[in-house]
């Protein structure tokens, strides 16, 4: 750029328009499908154990089922993850924490609800201290079972892979 002042004067708008242009480009088919293909192999769930299904969640990442071969690596910080697995019952106290964790995750992000309790309360349907996760999050898949077997969790993850590869995940997952 010849004139440094010109650059300064247009910097604000330039940045915004270039961001919009990049967004437009990313949303077009070839780039977008490349991006979604890449995302689908790095579904990292945040290590957020809400309830007792966490025991089976731990078994999913342990040697016998070994979900790491699908790029499924539980990770500590919500900032580096894109998948929130609601593991069982969500109590009222925990729901607030889950919302904060979800807000901290970068988009696109996905939520999978694991266990009967995460669908509609399950065995605790009449408890006074639980929350239905679908009222709080856009959920991609529900996994039935109390607790679901690790194979069922694996199936949900594989389904989610396919969904992401086809770019069919919800608008909410992309933007919020």
């Amino acid at each position: 750029m010849t004139c440094p002042f010109m650059g300064l004067a247009f910097l604000g708008r330039l940045e915004e328009s270039s961001r919009k242009a990049a967004q437009w480009l990313v949303e077009r088919t070839p780039v977008r499908s490349l991006r979604d293909w890449a995302i689908s192999f790095s579904l990292w769930p945040v290590h957020f154990t809400t309830s007792c299904c966490g025991a089976e969640f731990a078994a999913v990442s342990a040697p016998r089922f070994d979900m790491e071969r699908y790029g499924f690596l539980p990770f500590n910080s919500p900032r580096q993850t894109n998948l929130l697995l609601i593991e069982g019952t969500l109590t009222r106290k925990m729901a607030r924490a889950a919302e904060i964790v979800y807000q901290q995750m970068p988009s696109p992000k996905f939520v999978v609800a694991m266990g009967a309790c995460a669908i509609d309360g399950g065995i605790f349907h009449n408890s006074y201290n639980i929350v239905r996760p679908h009222e709080l999050f856009p959920i991609e898949y529900f996994i039935p079972g109390c607790p679901p077997r690790p194979e069922a969790v694996a199936q949900a993850i594989v389904r989610l892979h396919e969904k992401v590869k086809r770019s069919e995940y919800g608008v909410k997952a992309r933007e919020t």
Binding site: V46, H47, F48, T49, T50, S51, C52, C53, G54, A55, E56, A58, A59, A62, P63, R64, N76, P78, T89, T91, K93, M94, A97, V101, I123, F124, N126, S127, Y128, N129, I130, C146, P147, R149
Partner: protein, 401 residues
């Protein structure tokens, strides 16, 4: 923003630099679902406030709203990794209320599953203790070997974790064919693995440096604080609810209660390994001594319609008729204690003569061990907190119920 507010936020106040609070959780790399509010002075912990209740699913209230038998699967969800031991206390309390005793074969089968579950639970705890000090190998090994025992339990009961195996008066299923060989094979495998655990984890100098001499609990302190389970026995107190002879066939078997004197985090870990060995010893004896006979008390077998009774006895699977859920609990109360992997569980069931229990009080071992989060860490460095947490084998859903 007024200038005083700005000043307050910008300038240091007196006392600011001395104590500060660190919030750990509820989303943290450990077993999750609890928050520790740690007050630090420099790098030294001056106080910890365990903020529990993140998984409070109101078990005691819901148990009042269900028929007595239906509360068994409910209470099982407290400690899903140890579900036989967590419900056996409740089943014993119901049996005392109903005045029924399980037949010998059922008692042996209960003991068998109790010990299988104890091993699985200890492996879970040891695996997490590994991940607490970033030793991923221990986590992977323990969780991989835990699957062996879960598979055995699945073969016996039909479910990976939620067995609902014991019911008042007996058990739901008989021993499957070829179980003994598989169990003995698992024991041989596990014995070999325990030596390897020592090689890679327990005798690892890095692990020793983190766990040894940390969080020492003296015997008299452990008694006064009402600590239970391996945490108690690692402090040199020889107490185990299995010694009470209230349930199972522990009074007919020969086994030791491992006790260690040091009371630090390392001895709590090592004690779990010792207990796994003893549990395998018990399983061996149970498989040798198990008598033939019915698996449900005569009183309840008669309730099953004759058409269903014959195949049930032949197949060794009890399918309950609806009448079983409508058992009336006689008026009264019963207390039962049982030893879980994490420690002693206490049940007090009060009945007013209806089908539903009037009040079910349960005090779980993790709830009783919460007090150690207050008691042990002060005076340690912040780095030692994960080691203390890991050695306590704390399971939040159990404490919060």
């Amino acid at each position: 923003m007024s200038s005083s507010v700005m000043e307050a936020r910008l300038l240091e106040k007196e006392g600011d630099e001395e104590v500060y609070e660190v919030f750990i959780g509820p989303q943290h790399p450990a077993s999750g679902h609890m928050r520790l509010i740690v007050r630090l002075e420099g790098d030294v912990i001056v106080g910890v406030d365990p903020d529990i209740g993140w998984v409070h699913r109101t078990m005691e209230k819901l148990a009042e709203s269900k028929e007595a038998l239906k509360a068994i699967p409910l209470l099982e969800r407290m400690t899903i990794i140890d579900s036989q031991n967590v419900t056996i206390g409740y089943v014993r309390a119901l049996e005392k209320l109903l005045g029924v005793e399980p037949p010998p074969r059922a008692r042996y089968l209960r003991t068998l599953l109790s010990e299988i579950n104890r091993i699985a639970s200890h492996l879970y705890g040891m695996g997490l203790a590994g991940i607490f000090v970033n030793h991923s190998t221990m986590f992977m090994w323990c969780f991989g070997d835990r699957e062996v025992w879960i598979q055995l339990a699945e073969e016996l009961t039909g479910a990976r974790l939620t067995h609902s195996y014991s019911v008042p008066g007996g058990v739901r299923r008989d021993l499957p064919q070829g179980f003994k060989e598989k169990a003995l094979k698992a024991i041989r495998y596990m014995e070999k693995r325990l030596d390897e655990y020592h090689r890679i984890f327990f005798d690892n100098p890095q692990v020793r440096a983190r766990y040894e001499g940390v969080g020492v609990l003296k015997p008299h302190e452990a008694r006064r604080l009402g600590v239970v389970g391996p945490n108690l026995r690692a402090s040199g107190v020889r107490y185990d609810a299995r010694l009470l002879g209230d349930y199972g066939v522990y009074d007919e078997l020969e086994f030791e209660i491992p006790v260690r004197e040091e009371g630090d985090a390392m001895s709590r870990l090592l004690l779990r390994g010792d207990e796994i060995r003893q549990s395998m010893n018990i399983i061996r004896q149970v498989l040798d001594k198990i008598p033939e006979g019915p698996i449900l008390a005569e009183k309840y077998l008669r309730l099953i319609p004759p058409k269903l009774r014959e195949p049930a006895l032949k197949e060794g699977r009890i399918k309950f008729p609806g009448i079983f859920a409508n058992l009336k609990l006689p008026k009264g109360e019963a207390v039962a204690r049982a030893e879980m992997g994490h420690g002693e569980i206490f049940y007090h069931v009060t009945s007013d003569g209806s089908k539903k229990p009037y009040r079910v009080r349960v005090v779980t071992p993790s709830f009783r061990n919460v007090i150690l989060f207050r008691y042990l860490p002060p005076g340690h460095r912040f780095m030692d907190l994960p080691a203390i947490y890991g050695s306590l084998d704390y399971f939040p859903p159990e404490a919060d119920r």
